[in-house]
């Protein structure tokens, strides 16, 4: 075999090797990016639930103040309705964080064989899925939604399982989306509820002249280098009505932001689902496809070689 022929064979072998190996490296990078995006999105969802927990607690506190103003008892069983809601939300935040951890594990799978970590993370997820309470009686049962996915995820052991892992996570994600969609009205309702409770408290604070206008007036006045005679300001009924209206407007804005956050979280989940879909759809060459491509390449190079020879002979 002459030198040219040897170089030619080596060239074909190198190309064949890169066809077979490079897509694998590429997949691992993409898998890593997908894991990062997934983990970040689910962490944001968990933070959304954290916000709902705070809103629920604020609603309970506002209800407590409202009842004090109207001399209405707030017995433990009525307070417990807020605590139960907060507890259900806390479990959802926990689930979102476990799901985030599962995405991180998928990232580890993309880097190296991480069977022990995959098992640990998915066992945790499976346990949380099974014990997740329904938000309300007619919500979809979360354990039914997620089914045996967690068990399937546990079977993932090596980086070659990356695509299979993504398929399983996609399945879990679409069911998670179903749960979220089913409960979105409850989440939006929490923002409405807080708004109503804040409004009730604001009503009594103004009604009983317990409010100082300084909090709202000072920022705009101090920007002009002025100061307010607070005694006169608080005694001015027109001014206090304007302050009350601004306060109510702010509460309304907070409600709108809370409702919007639910839609943003819903959109983030859809975006993540689309990313996972793209990852699944874009698959690497299989061994037989690689061999076929190499053969075609070799044939093409041989044709070029024969054309060169023919030209030389002319």
């Amino acid at each position: 075999m002459n030198v040219n022929r040897k170089i030619h064979t080596l060239f074909v072998a190198l190309i064949a090797l890169s066809i077979l190996l490079f897509p694998g490296c590429d997949r691992r990078e993409e898998g890593s990016a997908l894991a990062t995006e997934g983990a970040a999105t689910l962490e944001k969802i968990a933070e959304f639930y954290d916000m709902l927990i705070i809103s629920t607690e604020e609603s309970r506190d506002a209800e407590s103040i409202f009842r004090a103003f109207t001399r209405m008892p707030f017995p433990p069983e009525q307070q417990a309705t807020f605590d139960k809601q907060a507890s259900n939300l806390r479990k959802r935040a926990q689930l979102a964080r476990s799901f985030s951890d599962t995405f991180k594990t998928l990232g580890k799978l993309a880097e190296y064989n991480a069977s022990a970590e995959v098992k640990e993370s998915t066992t945790k997820l499976a346990k949380e899925i099974q014990t997740l309470p329904k938000m309300s009686a007619d919500s979809i049962d979360p354990s039914k939604i997620f089914g045996m996915i967690a068990g399937d995820l546990m079977a993932l052991k090596q980086s070659k399982d990356l695509r299979r892992g993504a398929v399983l996570i996609r399945d879990a994600l679409s069911k998670y989306q179903l749960l979220f969609d089913n409960e979105i009205e409850v989440y939006k309702g929490i923002a409405v509820d807080r708004y109503k409770k804040f409004n009730n408290v604001a009503y009594w604070l103004f009604h009983k002249n317990l409010v100082q206008s300084s909090g709202l007036l000072n920022p705009s006045v101090s920007a002009l280098g002025l100061s307010i005679d607070m005694k006169k300001a608080d005694a001015d009924p027109d001014l206090m009505r304007a302050v009350e209206s601004i306060a109510r407007g702010r509460a309304e804005k907070m409600m709108a932001v809370g409702q919007m956050a639910a839609h943003t979280a819903q959109r983030d989940l859809s975006k993540l689902a689309a990313t996972v879909d793209r990852f699944i759809a874009k698959r690497p060459f299989t061994l037989s496809e690689g061999i076929q491509l190499t053969a075609e390449l070799q044939k093409y190079l041989e044709e070029i070689e024969s054309l060169r020879k023919a030209k030389k002979e002319e």
Binding site: T70, E77, Q78, T81, S136, D138, V186, G189, K196, N200
Partner: protein, 108 residues
């Protein structure tokens, strides 16, 4: 959250009382009136919480009858609130609406 007609009716009753509580409270002419309003609010509050945990079969004849009855009562309350009619009468109607909701909850 339930999107059943029955649940939405119960929710509306609670929101109606909550939203108008303060204006009704200041219109109350006696402590007996205020107690009636407080009691109606508390029962409505618990009914609403309980309704979130129930599944209602909207088409059951008894439920349909009670829902229609509740809907009519709510409309009457709204009219009375708009016209600022006698507080005693308005409170009686609110108590009736809350009782209908309690019956619905007991049925589910």
């Amino acid at each position: 959250m339930s999107d059943t007609k029955t649940f939405l009716e119960i929710q509306e009753t609670y929101f109606l009382i909550e939203q108008n509580f303060n204006s009704l409270f200041v219109r109350c002419e006696s402590e007996a009136h205020r107690n009636e309003l407080r009691s109606a609010y508390q029962v409505a509050f618990m009914n609403y919480a309980a309704a979130k945990e129930k599944i209602f079969r909207d088409n059951e004849p008894q439920l349909r009858f009670l829902r229609n009855h509740l809907d009519n009562t709510q409309n009457e309350i709204k009219t009375m609130l708009e016209n600022e009619q006698k507080i005693g009468k308005t409170l009686n109607l609110i108590t009736s609406a809350v009782r209908i909701v309690s019956s619905i909850i007991a049925l589910a």
